[in-house]
Symmetry: C2
Subunit: 384 residues, 2 copies
Amino acid sequence: MLPDQQFLRIPGPTPIPPSVQRAMNQPMIGHRDQETKELLHSISPKLKSVFGTNQNVLMLAGSGTAGLEAAVLNAVHPGDDVLVIVTGAFGDRFAQICTEHDIATHRYDVEWGEAVNPGSIEEYLKKHPHIKAVFATLCETSTGVLNPVKELARLIRQHSDTLFIVDGVSGVGGADVKMDEWGIDVLITGSQKAMMLPPGLTFAAVSERAWKVMEANTRPSFYFDLTKYRDQLENDATPFTPALSLLYGLKHVTELIEQEGLQEVFSRHRQMMNMIRAAFKAHDIPLLTSDEAASPTVTAMKPDDFDPDTLRKVLKNEFKLTVAGGQKHLKGHIFRIGHMGYCSQADILQTISMIEVGLRTIGKPVELGKGISAAQETILTGGS
Amino acid sequence: MLPDQQFLRIPGPTPIPPSVQRAMNQPMIGHRDQETKELLHSISPKLKSVFGTNQNVLMLAGSGTAGLEAAVLNAVHPGDDVLVIVTGAFGDRFAQICTEHDIATHRYDVEWGEAVNPGSIEEYLKKHPHIKAVFATLCETSTGVLNPVKELARLIRQHSDTLFIVDGVSGVGGADVKMDEWGIDVLITGSQKAMMLPPGLTFAAVSERAWKVMEANTRPSFYFDLTKYRDQLENDATPFTPALSLLYGLKHVTELIEQEGLQEVFSRHRQMMNMIRAAFKAHDIPLLTSDEAASPTVTAMKPDDFDPDTLRKVLKNEFKLTVAGGQKHLKGHIFRIGHMGYCSQADILQTISMIEVGLRTIGKPVELGKGISAAQETILTGGS
């Protein structure tokens, strides 16, 4: 095995583009100096287009979970009832955050591997008109499901003034999302997924409607008070010390996205998803999600005749290829490939080639090259 | 196309391991300071094993060609006749250097794509006993031929006191070479091939026998005077300012080689060669060299039904995959894949996958996955 080579194909953290690594490699500057203001000023407009919003996108030093908790703390008034749509481990985390803060939390649980049916949420809200906020996951990292957030937003908006709060952590930057046009009230993501950065930065964008709710909120919160971030960002500043090297990297990431073109970025992610799905279908290895519910950033396989964790071990030992296992009750039953951010069609061809060798190594008599050729056909026919 | 991603599969320069990039990224030090002495002192013993010699391996700031010229200038006395074995563009370069310095140069030309037959050199030397030095190429980068240097050394040594001088530029570090045991008198290489470094450093190791010839040489030479490098290196120093960042990187490279194990490094290179050869054989795309003459570091294909340069253009445009074309009269007739240094079996699977897609794109109706599966089989059967 070649030292110093590894293939990270988990759904985050994801590989960092070399030029982003270089961009982060800069001397520290004063976080109240003009250089920091200029850095924030140059990033801000470019982030808006990734989020599909005219709102400023707030940046907090913290993991994605910090962003989720900030959304809860700011958007939910004491005494409010909320609905959390749980389609996997990260929906479950949103619910945990709410219950931790003694919020009256209604769960709408969906079988893991399936997307939520928007009609059923509409029904639920009709029966429970006092719900003040609905929490959903754009891409459920634990299952590779892309929830129908656009349709959810439309239905929620049509029938109530309930806030719609979306965890976009493994979606934003890889999956198309139009916050303003669709009617999302709060959209959160993290730096270490499709945003091609190390972990440590979380992003939140907030609608005008949600700002009104947040401004009136009496729930105590200091570091997570999003109005502070909003007010400071209007002057190209942050309320607390920002993660400066990540901001250097972020500036370069937004330039890379602009260079490739945002629609091209989304199309590349869809093509990688189609390549992986075609490859495993060719090998009759079941996919956890249907084509309709599939995320462009994460794909989960649920094999019925081999142990996914044995395969993962072989891939790690033979090739230093890391793919993810299952979480919670899916542990030991699925394996997941992350294909977002700094990941190309060529990387997917390589990943599938290694997995085919790994499958043979663990004794599954797959026909070598069969999955690859299905993925190659996807490129040639332009499937995205 | 993903910005900031490229696949460099030419026979040098080759990709740099990320940890080597980091190792080079150090502040400058004084080239006469203790730190530089310690750097040279730590590198020296590890280089010896890569060259298969007990001699100190000299390091000059310069390209591989600088090393070749230094060998000529030091080893050939004014008035000497030399024999240059030319099996491709780099054998030809050795001959050019000799004629540039008005050396009586005998050429032994071999059809490009074939290895030299050692018996014919033995015959030649019997007929021309006044030849003082034989120049040969270990791996002929322009054709992917590995010449039988061990057998050449044995025959030359058996029949004369002629010096045997070997250009190891795209071989050393990827192909097994035992300078002392085989009886090579001068072995040269460069930093940018199997040594996993940027260009800018050339290496030369010299046998006791060759040192005697060099010491007695009256040919004028200043920067290229190898005895200066030898004498200084005995005190962990260099006669002229060394390429310090490359030395930082080199120290780390020798550690990476030690970590993988030298025999493992050679075996990885042979397996990559076998994978590529199996893949193109599966597609009936002719290889330029026979299996017997094949180099573990470079492979050339000579297609008979498509234009290799059209394929190269498509690979570059579609995937940012760079493979090399032909040189001199092979230009437009072959394409070459470099598979040395920081390159793994997984990288070869990826390269072949992309080439299959490229072949279909230029209209050659290859069966997708066929070459890949042949390469995958090579891994599974452990072919190295």
